[in-house]
Symmetry: C2
Subunit: 115 residues, 2 copies
């Protein structure tokens, strides 16, 4: 084993929740970028919000993972009025399809290359 | 509400597990593509493997989500000899950093645009 494999870093300390949102977009991106940025700002005000990871293959699948301390934090974010309006507009205009998985993290670990 | 918002589709029927792997790669990609393809083939033989989603922002974060029926399936895949060798090589050569979250899915739903 090389040295850097001996220095694991933990993402967050369990328990916490991961909300996995996978999506494929339509060709209609009017208003999408501004709305996405606005949501990224708003979610930071939710108590129990821990962070977010996002990746998108150009022209293909996007995956956003939001990390929350507990279910109450997820419920508060899901029910947020401006977020709900964005979800509705997403179904009407921006998303070809999506899946949402709400999952309780039981184990986590991380790796960072030694400098 | 438009019609297509009334036709949710479920990703998988809970309970199931999501294994969320986020990674940033090094500049060294020798052997990476072949190994990734080989792993995608091998994991299909694990009983309880349900599928996988992958997205990567060019030059940035990659997120792979593997779906498994239960913890035993995840353990079998984690302990697979060829997979373990690939993990070790990943830490030595291909990954700048990564995080792994093993999470039990409690709720899920999906959306698909009406044709």
């Amino acid at each position: 084993m090389s040295d850097h494999s001996l220095a694991p870093v933990t993402a967050h300390a369990p328990p916490y929740y991961a909300v996995v949102f996978t999506s494929v977009r339509t060709a209609d991106d009017v208003g999408y970028g501004e709305t996405a940025e606005r949501m990224e700002e708003l979610v930071k005000d939710i108590p129990g919000y821990l962070g977010m990871d996002h990746a998108r293959t150009p022209g293909g699948l996007a995956i956003t993972v939001g990390y929350f301390r507990d279910e109450d934090a997820i419920k508060e974010w899901s029910a947020h009025a401006e977020h709900r309006a964005a979800q509705k507009r997403g179904r009407a205009e921006w998303y070809e399809r999506y899946t949402l998985h709400i999952a309780k993290v039981e184990h986590s670990h991380g790796f960072e290359r030694a400098r």
